[in-house]
């Protein structure tokens, strides 16, 4: 492997300081200087968007959509209110990066939201925070108060006369609210059921007003880009994959946690940083981009670099950068059973193929795992999956299908063994 990365970090650099979350730490290291400069120089929105485009920053929530392009969709001359929304509803199994930004660098997220608000002409910003991390909802509200007191939020930001405020909105237990339109419904005080698109949020978003929704890590990257320039951000990563990226690594590694490294780093290097596979064990499979991403066997993932292009070429998804590592002790049927239960539990129930199909998939995997599988079950699972994918309003349907079809594709033998022998071949 190459030497461990020691270059600049975009989001979690505050962890190298004694009080990572404090306003003092942030300001002493250049924090809020990009905002001050923009307001003092009245930087045109088009120039800011241009820098974000040059940076090749792509949505860090999982979809990887170019952020600069998304920002350019917002109507410039719209007379009414517009909103900026941050998606911190991080509930995809394996993903736990945004929580660390909120906990350890809350002000960079605030500055990013304020710069976004200025650029897009928004009236206010809301950050939707995953319900289960309620302690961080409370700590981030304190950071907002600090920012207000210091003049970085409110009616006269940095003495410019420009008014903008940011608020925290809590989730309370619904994975689907990570889908941007379900999230908007939820902020409006409704069930979190996704909307039909189009219209897209840039024309019909929160309260029916033009709205831009970005992931936490995306927005937190903006101040760094504006301080150092889009080109410097791009140079941290590789073409079309700008920046460093936080990888959340969990499962069978010695040191699970978040590692912020350049886009394009070999997977093998990340594995070493995370202490390697559990002592005495060998790598079996990796889910490289959150639980929705197709699983990859060890030999395929070990040849990948961590960027959108390499992971896609290998047949999976870069997603949110959540890497779930499994060693040779894992029964793939049991692992899939748990993931399938998750999607069944979290389907919002709006679209029949997802509501019914996720239940079917769970029940069939469950019976295979419990020694009641039938020879036709694998074909049945593939067929149910094919009848969900592409037939639902949001991507949760496809997200539920990805694990099922990829687990069967790469580990079919294990499923067949379960069905034939009514027990597991792992350790058999």
């Amino acid at each position: 492997m190459s030497a461990p990365y020691t270059g600049p970090k975009v989001c979690l650099w505050t962890l190298d300081h004694a009080n990572p979350a404090s306003l003092e730490t942030y300001v002493a290291n250049g924090g809020y200087s990009a905002l001050k400069k923009i307001l003092a120089e009245k930087t045109p929105a088009a120039e800011i968007i241009e820098q974000v485009k040059i940076s090749a920053l792509r949505g860090r929530g999982g979809a990887g959509f170019p952020t600069g392009l998304k920002w350019s969709f917002m109507p410039r001359n719209y007379e009414g209110d517009k909103y900026i929304v941050c998606n911190s509803d991080e509930g995809e199994p394996g993903t736990f990066k945004d929580r660390d930004i909120i906990e350890f660098n809350p002000h960079q997220l605030i500055e990013g939201m304020v710069i976004a608000g200025y650029t897009l002409g928004a009236k206010a910003g809301y950050n939707y925070i995953h319900g289960e991390i309620f302690e961080l909802y409370e700590s981030w509200e304190k950071a907002l108060e600090e920012a207000r007191s210091a003049g970085y939020l409110g009616n006269n930001i940095c003495g410019s006369g420009w008014a903008f405020d940011v608020h925290a909105h809590q989730g309370y237990g619904a994975y689907v609210c990570g889908e941007e339109t379900a999230l908007l419904e939820s902020i409006e005080g409704k069930k979190g059921q996704p909307r039909f698109k189009p219209p897209f949020p840039a024309s019909f978003g929160l309260y029916g007003k033009p709205t831009t929704i970005n992931n936490t890590e995306t927005l937190a990257s903006i101040p760094w880009i504006m301080r150092n320039g889009g080109q410097a951000f791009l140079d941290l990563g590789k073409p079309n994959n700008g920046g460093t990226k936080i990888f959340s690594i969990s499962g069978h590694v010695n040191k699970p946690g978040n590692y912020e490294i350049p886009m394009g780093t070999p997977f093998a290097d990340l594995l070493v940083m995370a202490g390697g596979v559990r002592d005495g064990h060998t790598l079996k499979a990796v889910i490289p981009g959150g639980s929705s991403a197709p699983v990859l066997p060890a030999e395929i993932i070990m040849a990948c670099t961590l960027d959108y292009d390499s992971i896609a070429k290998a047949g999976s998804m870069f997603g949110s950068g959540a890497v779930i590592v499994m060693d040779e002790t894992v029964c793939m049927v049991k692992a899939l059973e748990r993931l399938s239960y998750f999607y069944y539990e979290e389907s919002c129930g709006q679209c029949t193929p997802c509501r019914e199909g996720t239940g079917w998939m769970y029940r069939v995997v469950h019976r295979i795992e419990h020694g009641e599988g039938r020879p036709e079950d694998l074909d049945l699972l593939m067929s149910v999956g094919n009848n969900i994918a592409g037939r639902t309003i949001c991507a949760l349907g496809e997200a539920a299908v990805g694990p099922v079809q990829s687990f069967i594709k790469h580990f079919r033998q294990e499923f067949e063994y379960h069905i034939e022998h009514k027990r597991c071949m792992v350790g058999a």
Partner: protein, 164 residues
């Protein structure tokens, strides 16, 4: 008859709800419903029908609209539960890191399964979905808001001893 929120909830809870309402445009009070239900639940321990009705009335929403929210999000507690609700994440990353062992230990120690409450009303055990903190698993939430990470039978013992 619907009891007003003013007569059902404490002044402190109402002040907290008012603070949430103030975050949103004046004509968008329902945006505060998730927070209002959370605040009411913290005070009452669970969301009784009368509590839900009073929240609806306070925010000027149809009661059914508040029920839709209370039944959709799984951290709202719609029936009485123990003083200490322990929600264990059993999803894949936590499972790989030992969540099943922790869940089995909790079940055996408390003598109850998921979705059940101890006869003395002290503990309710629940199975949870991803809490977005997988790197520190196995995890549980105490009464929805306090997370305990890196669980093992030893740390579970310590936690349960602290919760009277």
């Amino acid at each position: 008859m619907t009891l007003s929120a003013q007569s059902l909830l404490s002044a402190d809870s109402l002040a907290q709800i008012d603070k949430e309402v103030a975050k949103y445009p004046a004509d968008q009070k329902p945006s505060a419903v998730m927070a209002a239900l959370r605040i009411a639940q913290v005070e009452k321990g669970w969301l009784a029908p009368a509590t839900i009705e009073s929240v609806a009335q306070y925010l000027g929403m149809p009661t059914i609209a508040v029920y839709e929210v209370a039944t959709f999000y799984n951290m709202y507690q719609l029936e009485p539960c123990g003083r200490h609700k322990i929600t264990v994440c059993t999803n894949l990353p936590c499972q790989l890191q030992g969540a099943d062992t922790v869940a089995d230990y909790l079940k055996q120690k408390l003598g109850i399964g998921f979705g059940e409450t101890t006869p003395d009303g002290r503990f309710t055990l629940k199975e949870g979905e991803c809490m977005g903190t997988c790197g520190s698993g196995p995890l549980c939430l105490h009464n929805n808001h306090t997370m305990h990470a890196h669980l093992s039978p030893e740390t579970v013992d310590k936690l349960l001893d602290e919760l009277k």
